[in-house]
């Protein structure tokens, strides 16, 4: 039975989803639907950045998001205001874990955002409906072949029912480890390429009194990345197929992937107590403080190729006199000896959506277009290194690297790989995402066998409505 009467719609005006006394505290009243059509021709009029017309456009854009963070967002706003000085952008930052609850209450509210961050996967699925279709904007700015000019991951991740609900700012790729090359070189070690090499490398590193591979297995996302990477080294693409319901989680290749993942907790690779710490910031701090020589991170870690950013990161990890060291992203070892070529899987780090309820549609469109579709905006993205720009043909500046002899090549190779990646990293189905996290946690703690964990995943997958 479906409740569709006007009474319900009135109640829905309180989008706050007051799940109860606990959840009610997170809620606030909003109103109305989020499906109005805002794509008038006026709203799509985007003057060239820096042009005389661009300087006359006035407006205010309230932008909500968890990324690019409070320290980096002002860089974008400043660069944007050089091109459009009379559009004021207010960035409201939310901690990632608080973003979805905040958006739930704010997106339909009159005091909600004009532009908001959207993450591929579950968040895009839930909140994409509140955004305008940005296809006309992309066509207007880049032409009819706009898709060819952007990374395929972006458009794919944010297209819902044929409508482009967000424009990708930039993408991140996973499936890599980060090594402390300074320590590796000092001890005469090479990045491991097989499971056996990984184990022996860890023995050597431990003999030096350091943690080999630090992993925050309390966080489901990093376990998911690791399992997907392991799975891809066994049977490329099968994990992604299982997410889409096109392969069984009980498939022997996936069970083997879960077995290999579990073995990492007992063969000396994973540090003891991994399941009790977070990737951010517990594990990352250990790596930045050079207490650990390896960590699982993706291309978002490229930001630490820059000496300035890395120094700040080391200081945040509690090191009083931070000295930069050389980080290098390397592929996950061929953990099952299958000989498959490692590759990156990824997604847009985030996309920008224009709220269909925004009263500042033109200013919002201009901001989103500048950020995601213009060379000026995308160059700022590229130069941060944390994301690979969505617009093709943008090359990051390479000043300020810790060790250009190693890192320039790495930066460019990984950038190309991310821009050409086609396998998604995010899971669009919250129940399955939770189930993968539960399975990883159970395997890490040894409370389930790989077969039982695979069966749990299949049960969760069977219950997902795709």
């Amino acid at each position: 039975m479906s409740i569709t009467g006007s009474r319900w719609r009135r109640t829905r005006a309180c989008q706050a989803a007051l799940v109860g006394l606990t959840l009610a505290a997170l809620a606030a009243c909003g109103s109305g639907s989020g499906t109005s059509n805002a794509s008038s021709s006026d709203a799509l009029a985007v003057p060239q950045p820096g042009s005389a017309e661009a300087k006359t456009v006035k407006g205010t854009v309230n932008w909500w998001g968890w990324s690019p963070g409070v320290s980096v967002a002002p860089l974008y706003v400043k660069a944007f205001n050089e091109a459009y000085p009379n559009i004021k952008v207010n960035f409201k930052f939310y901690d990632y874990n608080q973003y979805s609850p905040a958006l739930r209450t704010g997106v339909g509210s009159p005091s909600g955002p004009d532009v908001f961050d959207l993450e591929p996967g579950g968040i895009a699925r839930q909140y994409g409906r509140f955004g305008t279709d940005l296809t006309p904007l992309a066509q207007k700015v880049l032409g009819s072949d706009w898709k060819d000019k952007l990374s395929p991951l972006g458009a794919d991740a944010f297209t819902q029912d044929g409508k482009l609900k967000a424009l990708s700012v930039g993408s991140g790729g996973a499936g890599t480890l980060v090594i402390n090359k300074t320590l590796f070189d000092r001890w005469g070690l090479k990045p491991p390429t097989t499971l056996d090499e990984w184990v022996s490398t860890c023995k050597a590193i431990k003999a030096k009194g350091k943690t080999c591979f630090v992993h925050g297995a309390k966080d489901a996302w990093v376990n998911r990345d690791l399992i997907q990477a392991i799975s891809n080294s066994i049977a490329p693409g099968k994990f992604a197929k299982a997410v889409q319901g096109q392969a069984k989680w009980t498939d022997p290749d996936l069970v083997q992937a879960l077995s290999v993942y579990r073995s990492l907790f007992g063969n000396g690779i994973m540090q003891p107590g991994a399941a009790g710490i977070t990737q951010y910031n517990d594990a990352q701090n250990k790596f930045m403080a050079q207490d650990a020589a390896m960590i699982m991170q993706g291309t978002w870690e490229l930001g630490n190729y820059k000496a300035q950013a890395q120094t700040a990161g080391i200081k945040s990890a509690g090191v009083s006199s931070p000295k930069p060291f050389v980080e290098q992203l390397v592929p996950l070892p061929d953990v099952a000896g299958k000989g498959n070529k490692p590759y990156l899987f990824g997604d847009p780090d985030f996309g920008l959506t224009v709220n269909a309820r925004s009263k500042n549609q033109r200013a919002a469109n201009i901001f989103v277009a500048w950020y995601t579709l213009t060379k000026q905006g995308q160059q700022v993205v590229a130069d941060q290194y944390t994301q690979v720009p969505s617009l093709k043909g943008i090359t990051p500046a390479t000043q300020g690297l810790v060790d250009p002899s190693v890192q320039v090549t790495s930066l460019r190779n990984l950038g190309t790989q991310v821009q050409n990646a086609t396998e998604h990293r995010q899971v669009a189905y919250p129940d399955l995402m939770t189930a993968i996290g539960d399975a990883a946690s159970a395997l890490a703690s040894g409370s389930k066998t790989p077969q039982a964990a695979a069966q749990d995943l299949q049960t969760a997958s069977d219950g997902v409505s795709r």
């Binding site: 479906s2 109860g20 006394l21 309390k218 009790g276 710490i277 517990d282 159970a442 409370s447 389930k448």
Partner: protein, 320 residues
């Protein structure tokens, strides 16, 4: 006698005056009392609005959405009757969460006993009392969000607890406390006891300051030792505090969220999941708002039942 008569006379006069004033008000100004009533309503209106508008509305709204299959955003929720409650009964994680909460509830006894012990110690002649009081109460005011990373570090495999154990030759006990499902819950309970013992201490200490010193002195003269004074005098005389702490402790247990959420996130392998973290996951992370609401309703009923039963058990109303 004369004084009593005079007092009675004044009281009668005062009553008479009030009575006359009331009649006069009725006769000459018929709208006066009503105006006073309106003013009264206006005074309480903000509080009533807040309570009804937020708390009771939320309760009714929660009851309503607990019978829906809804993601919290869709304009077309589906009514599913009592399906969410049936699912709840069959949900192993729900029952496990209840078991974990029961463990937290038992730990309330520990923090009360510790609080009473510290209060008795500090109530006797101890030097640097103020310093001890501050140290004991400090955990109560420290934000769990601040302390969570600290405790993850302390209980880590290479953390301070294990370092200390190894330093005193107890290597065999060193353990990744939060990473092991068999110990993670106890680690969290320890944090909880650490956090709330100071609260028990303050209430007991306040209770002990109300105990007549002559009673203790008389007991001592009669030959009562320390244990006898504590068991026969101090514990019975602070019964009201005990009841208050027990009720607050149980309610606090039911609402436990921050420490498990921040320190372990309910893991590993759901070994520290409590009802509040589970309903947060269901309602917020997984977008099962209807099911999350059903869990909330259960949480609310548990709070009510336990509070009422405790009040009755301890006959709180008749104590005065």
């Amino acid at each position: 006698m004369k004084t009593v008569a005079l007092t009675r006379h004044r009281h009668e006069q005062s009553t008479l005056t009030q009575h006359r004033a009331g009649r006069a008000a009725k006769g000459s100004a018929p709208h006066g009392p009503r105006r006073n009533n309106v003013a009264g309503y206006l005074y309480v209106a903000p509080a009533v609005l807040v309570v009804v508008g937020i708390v009771y509305f939320a309760i009714v709204y929660t009851l309503r959405i607990s019978v829906l299959d809804w993601d919290g955003l869709s304009p077309d929720p589906v009514a599913v009757g009592l399906d969410n409650y049936v699912r709840l009964v069959e949900d192993a994680v729900f029952w496990r969460s209840l078991g974990h909460m029961a463990m937290f509830a038992l730990a309330v006894l520990v923090q009360m006993a510790l609080g009473l012990g510290f209060a008795i110690l500090l109530h006797s002649g101890v030097r640097a009392k103020t310093l001890y009081k501050v140290l004991l109460f400090l955990p109560v005011v420290l934000a769990p969000a601040v302390m969570a990373p600290v405790f993850r570090q302390i209980f880590d495999a290479d953390g301070q607890l294990n370092t200390m154990l190894r330093a005193v030759g107890l290597d065999a006990l060193a353990h990744p406390w939060l990473a092991d499902p068999s110990t993670a819950l106890y680690a969290l309970i320890t944090i909880n006891v650490w956090q709330w013992t100071g609260f028990s201490f303050v209430l007991y200490y306040a209770g002990l300051t109300q105990v007549d010193a002559s009673l203790i002195e008389a007991a001592r003269i009669d030959g009562a030792g320390n244990w006898r004074v504590i068991s026969s005098l101090l514990i019975p005389l602070t019964r009201g505090t005990t009841v208050t702490l027990a009720i607050l402790g149980v309610i606090g247990t039911i609402k436990t969220f921050d420490i498990p959420y921040l320190v372990t996130g309910g893991g590993p392998a759901r070994s520290t999941e409590v009802l509040a973290t589970y309903l947060y996951q269901q309602g917020i992370t997984d977008f099962h708002v209807g099911y999350g609401a059903a869990l909330t309703v259960v949480l609310m009923i548990m709070s009510l039942v336990l509070t009422v039963s405790q009040v009755r058990r301890f006959k709180l109303g008749s104590e005065a």
